[in-house]
């Protein structure tokens, strides 16, 4: 079994796999280690599939926009798997005036950064999507947002990277990093195996925290649970991504006809952070159904066939860490995706490949540094 490579990527999620693909495409020798039996076992398969710019932080927008303009449109062809990308736009719905205030604030911030997003009234909402509740009083509308299939996208990057010669080893849980002569070098696993590389990309979700701590780096983040559900197949209704001002739910209709929604009970903050426990709460699906019916009442007879969930890695300021580490040359962090990892996955993957090769980045990564977290006291 191969144990050395120019670049070792810890984490076989959408970010790790995308980085592996873009590196392999540039001829770099890559090895990916995934802790679980399955590739894409974490948050990459446990989200509602949004490919959005609206609602993103100023620091994330440049690469979110870059991905939507330059990577997503041709991704299916490039990877040889239909990732079900649709750029149908994103409506964020409000049911009362206070919701519209939240949306207006978001629209103002996004337009100041050049994003094409605006407020629409109840009538315009019905014109964009006639299947929504007539109780909706307004929404924000971003026509260039969309959605894709997160599970297929993650596996598509994996498949293509593997075809290009990237070595993937699953069932290898990384527990420790080691420096040699002041530079990153060794990656040790729970099974007692050691891998060696010139560069190590740490893209292991919340689990990245413990691993980074072994070389003296701590990234302030919290695990946060999110549940998803899927309905049986429905007749084709709409192509848009749906969100709501209160962030109770978000989702879309898939190519398959089923509706996928992500949500929560509102009680997540009290959960014990058991990262191996991926069971959802008994309250989750019921709460999600109530929230969905508020906005899309005609789905009331749609049957739920499955529910699932997983842990996100939320940083202190809800913005990812994508950064080289001054104290540990050769180590690159790509974690704390804060629930935004899927839609920006391809762009982050490309950016990581540029960091490894010291190429110009698609955008300035300084605001995404790991050492930006300071006490405000």
């Amino acid at each position: 079994m191969k144990t050395t490579a120019e670049v070792i990527i810890v984490g076989g999620g959408v970010v790790g796999n995308a980085a592996a693909y873009y590196l392999a495409k540039k001829g770099v020798d890559v090895l990916v280690l995934e802790a679980d039996d399955s590739i894409g076992h974490g948050g990459s398969s446990r989200n509602g599939g949004g490919v959005r710019q609206s609602g993103r932080d100023v620091r994330e927008l440049p690469y979110a926009i870059y991905g939507i303009k330059n990577l997503w449109p041709t991704l299916s062809e490039e990877l040889g798997v239909d990732v079900e990308y649709h750029q149908g736009g994103n409506l964020r719905l409000g049911l009362e005036e206070s919701h519209l205030d939240i949306l207006r604030g978001q629209v103002e911030r996004a337009t100041s950064l050049g994003l094409d997003v605006k407020m629409v009234d109840a009538k315009e909402v019905q014109e964009i999507c006639p299947y929504l509740s007539d109780r909706i009083v307004g929404a924000s509308w971003c026509p260039t947002d969309g959605h894709a299939n997160p599970m297929k996208t993650t596996l598509a990057f994996y498949k293509r990277a593997r075809e290009l010669g990237v070595t993937f080893i699953s069932g290898e849980k990384v527990v420790e990093l080691k420096k040699q002569k002041g530079k990153i070098r060794k990656v040790m696993t729970e099974n007692g195996n050691t891998y060696e590389g010139e560069t190590v990309i740490l893209a292991a979700g919340y689990e990245s925290r413990k691993i980074a701590q072994t070389v003296g780096i701590d990234i302030p983040m919290t695990p946060f649970f999110e549940a998803c559900l899927v309905t049986e197949m429905q007749p084709p209704m709409f192509d848009i991504m749906l969100g709501v001002a209160t962030a109770e739910i978000y989702g879309h209709q898939c190519d398959h006809g089923s509706f996928v929604f992500g949500s929560g009970t509102g009680l997540e903050a009290t959960l014990e952070p058991k990262l191996d426990d991926l069971r959802i709460s008994a309250l989750d699906v019921s709460a999600n159904c109530r929230a969905i019916m508020k906005y899309v009442p005609m789905l009331k007879d749609a049957k739920i066939v499955r529910s699932w969930g997983g842990w996100m890695d939320i940083t202190h300021d809800h913005v990812p860490v994508i950064s080289k580490v001054s104290e540990v040359p050769g180590l690159i962090l790509a974690c704390g995706m804060s629930g935004h990892g899927f839609g920006t996955g391809p762009a982050v993957g490309l950016m990581l490949s540029q960091m490894v090769l010291d190429e110009p980045l698609i955008c300035d990564s300084t605001p995404l540094r790991y050492d930006r977290f300071k006490s405000d006291r």
């Binding site: 599970m151 593997r162 993937f168 699953s170 699906v285 019921s286 709460a287 739920i304 499955r306 699932w308």
Partner: protein, 108 residues
């Protein structure tokens, strides 16, 4: 059980077979050939297969095809079916309408 799995290991080439058109997952209409081909795309676990092809993700949630898929994958991977972890079952046990599922006494 989590075990080390080198995805670069040689499992041979995909060889088309006469029975590749047989429907294995009837809910989502996935054929034997699609499953066999996916193994050669690098899809080595039951969990990955469901995400890649949607097999076992329809109304019966794999209660009909789960064992068939496992055997096809094991044969293609040249391992015993016992080495493949079964897929995870999830709530609800039977498909339930949203309007009914919503009635758990929570806030409305």
């Amino acid at each position: 059980m989590v075990k080390v799995n080198d995805r670069m290991r040689d499992i041979g080439e995909f060889i088309p077979a006469k029975d590749d058109d047989i429907l294995i997952c009837r809910c989502e209409e996935i054929t034997k050939g699609e499953i066999r081909r996916a193994v050669h795309d690098g899809i080595f676990t039951m969990e990955e297969m469901r995400r890649y092809l949607r097999n076992g993700m329809g109304l019966c949630q794999g209660q009909t095809c789960g064992k068939l898929v496992k055997n096809i994958m094991a044969k293609e991977l040249k391992i015993s079916p016992l080495e493949l972890e079964p897929e995870t079952s999830r709530a609800p046990m039977r498909p339930i309408e949203m309007e009914i599922y919503a009635k758990d006494g929570g806030n409305v």
